[in-house]
């Protein structure tokens, strides 16, 4: 049956290759746009190694300190350890809390070598290594005890370890200087894509070892840190938020003249990508504009393609008439027409998917996360953002949708011609 459909579709294509080619190209272009948009948005929220649990993670990166008296703002900023301890570390419902301080450049040097290079360093706690799934190449990351003692140990990325010491195994136990502070290498991990913006770095150290300058507000609320809450599953988000609001109430009561405003954080990953500064991200606006753009990208080509489908169908009116004479139902014919047309859509869809990879490569600077603001971090797109099952499902659904939109009206019109007329080819 399917082979028959394929044969028929091929014959129709031979009959009018120009129209067929244009139809395929039109579909391909539409799919290119849709998929670029789809993947471009999804790569910010999908699970990317080592951030394999983004779907069950909540994010907090901003806090505002306000006056209780009149709600005026005192200061906005990242979080202090005191705030994190009081509001987040003490939560019972989540699986774990990970605290990091954003990327900073450091000058990396090795004794007896004049060669020095800049590297981006991330300041983390010990839970970081449990909750993010790095591929460990040698050694072991710092433990809780080492973290709490503020021991100067560093985990290197593979590339940096290789340029400094030749291989990842040779690096273990060696000393390096980060901006003239001594650290010993305790582990080497596989390099991470900059798309994983909460774990990307070239070297990782315990934040307790770094003596990061504290920004001081009178309440001690703002600091240099941000916090990720790992729930057991995304169903727990509401439970965590409820527990958090209680903690915040207690915290505020102890703050005297001030209170903290987390601006509706913790955020799910999707909202987090829209939150650039303090304040409330416009989630509704983002969703609406995405939806409108999406609809335009789908409907305009569909309308234009239906002209082509119609002109191809016209020629086959008599054939369809014959089939109806021999007892084909109308539904059967419509399904047949749609199926045949689906072959064009699928070919166009596959072409479009590959074109969309190219487009994404061209616009890769747009994919960089706002968390790198002001740093010259290059974009590396991991292969898993391109080749994964949801992407393939999306391509197929877009093809199906486009096919239904562009072929169902012509199919309906062609099959509604009275049999006698269609046999006469009128």
């Amino acid at each position: 049956m399917i082979i028959q459909h394929l044969k028929r579709a091929f014959n129709i294509f031979k009959d009018n290759p120009y129209a067929g080619l244009i139809a395929i190209l039109g579909t391909a272009l539409s799919i290119t746009m849709l998929m670029s948009f789809f993947i471009g948005n999804r790569c910010h929220t999908m699970n990317i190694k080592p951030e394999s649990d983004r779907d069950r993670t909540l994010y907090v990166k901003w806090v505002g300190v306000k006056y209780k008296e009149n709600d005026n703002l005192l200061v906005n900023g990242s979080l202090s350890l005191k705030t994190i301890q009081a509001c987040f570390r003490s939560l019972k419902s989540p699986e774990a809390i990970v605290v990091t301080s954003p990327l900073q450049p450091r000058l990396v040097s090795v004794a007896k070598s004049n060669e020095r290079r800049k590297a981006y360093v991330l300041f983390t706690d010990d839970m970081f290594w449990k909750m993010f799934h790095f591929k460990l190449l040698s050694g072991a990351p710092y433990t809780r005890e080492e973290f709490e003692a503020g021991i100067k140990k560093v985990v290197l990325g593979e590339k940096l370890a290789k340029t400094l010491f030749g291989s990842s195994a040779a690096a273990i136990g060696k000393n390096i200087q980060l901006s003239y502070v001594n650290y010993s290498v305790c582990a080497v991990v596989e390099d991470v894509s900059s798309m994983a913006d909460y774990s990307f770095a070239q070297a990782w150290v315990p934040y307790t070892s770094a003596n990061l300058a504290a920004t001081a507000d009178p309440a001690g609320v703002t600091g240099k840190y941000r916090c990720q809450i790992f729930a057991h599953s995304s169903h727990d988000f509401s439970v965590i938020r409820k527990e958090l609001s209680k903690q915040v109430e207690v915290f505020n009561a102890a703050l005297g003249d001030y209170y903290v405003d987390f601006y509706k954080q913790p955020d799910s990953r999707l909202i987090e990508t829209w939150r650039f500064g303090p304040g409330y991200p416009d989630a509704k606006g983002h969703l609406l504009s995405s939806f409108v753009l999406f609809a335009i990208l789908l409907i305009i080509p569909a309308i234009n393609l239906s002209g082509f489908t119609m002109s191809r169908m016209k020629k086959r009116i008599s054939e369809l008439g014959v089939r109806r004479c021999f007892g084909s139902t109308r539904t059967g014919l419509i399904v047949q027409v749609l199926l045949e047309n689906m072959i064009y859509s699928v070919i166009g869809g596959i072409l479009g998917l590959f074109l969309s990879y190219w487009v994404l490569y061209l616009i890769r600077d747009r994919l960089i996360s706002t968390n790198y603001w002001g740093l010259d971090v290059g974009v590396t797109i991991p292969v898993e953002t391109f080749f994964n099952i949801p992407t393939f499902i999306a391509v197929f659904s877009f093809c199906l949708l486009l096919n239904l939109l562009s072929a169902s009206i012509p199919a309906w019109r062609v099959t509604s011609v009275p049999i006698v007329n269609s046999l006469n080819n009128e």
Partner: protein, 421 residues
Amino acid sequence: MIRHLFTVIWNERKNNGWIWTELFLASICLWFIIDYFYVLGNVVHRPLGYDISHTYRIDMSELSSNSDGYITPSEKKTTTGEDLLLIMERVRHYSGIEAVSLSKSAQPYSATGYSGTMNYQQLYYKDTISITAQEYLVTPSFFEVFHNSADLKVNRLLSQALRPGAVVLSADAKDELMGISASCGEQIKIGQDVKSATLTAICSPVRWSEYFKSNYCFYRLLSEADIAEYINADNFLNYELCVRVDSEHDVRFADNFMLDMSDRLRVGNLYLMEVRPSSILRKAVVAPEESNIMARSILSVFILFNIFLGISGTFMFRTQYRWAEMGLRIAMGSSKAGLRSFLITEGLILLTLAIIPAILVDLNMGVAELIDIKWEPFVTFRFIIGLVCTYLVMSFVIIIGIWYPAYQVMHIEPVDALREE
């Protein structure tokens, strides 16, 4: 012929209405796109007011209190500014260095809306006229690093003109503030504390990047005394240490410099962090605009192709629909070439009919400033260029769209076509 075509179009008005609507909407979209790219092309090719080739930014950083060799504030004898002056002196002696400059919020691509480190000042002339202009605080060598003009002599003159109490104004700011006839030597006043300064030179207008119009700006001297006195550990990151390298030495310069100078540039609590070519700074600043342009280009290709798809599809359908009519025309003596030109002229007339109301819509969009006017005002010439290009591109798309169906029709046997009736 034309009159006859109008009659044919009018007779087929039910079908043509659809195509007319499509052409109408498409030409508005296309005009919008063409206008954007025309203005973009114009703005990119204007002079920038600097030249970043062979220039580098030298990033210094400060040791933290737990670093090796950290000098505590009580032991430290020199100011951070004095350390910086020593560093500049050492850099100047490195081989291949043509010029070294220190500046505040002045380095090309660094004092822009993207970095948020611009300084603006109010300038007053004869107490009545004032403008707001961007302030660039630079050492005299700045003009020799970033070549305000392509003429090296001019740059040297600008350097010499930057004396204490002097101000170098950009040409556009000077014209706006003092009029075209004013010349060097006149006094202007700067800022709220109203410091008086002498205009000693006029430089070319400076733009933030290729994608911005020039901004009124002026240069003032950053003297060695000021550097030594005012630069400290808290503010030294606001200052830009930049060098120009001669073209012979500009091979692996950053790597060599890091290797050779890291130890020599450890002065006070400062150390050399990185040497970056200006092109890296440029990339960060133009990336948002360039990816915006890329996205617009891709969207334009999409729209153009869809216009083509729509027109070509509809014409194909129409010509099939009018199969018999075409057969009749051939039977009545139309030549094949004549038939093709008949179809194409018909398409072009439809386009003209659609574009006339579209012009009105375009004009309204322009007047209402719905188009890009950050680069160029909406003037007649820009409008006409946009319209002519739109018409040409649309005609091209229509001709391509009609060509194949017309080609098919040309090969009908009149008997076949007529028999269908």
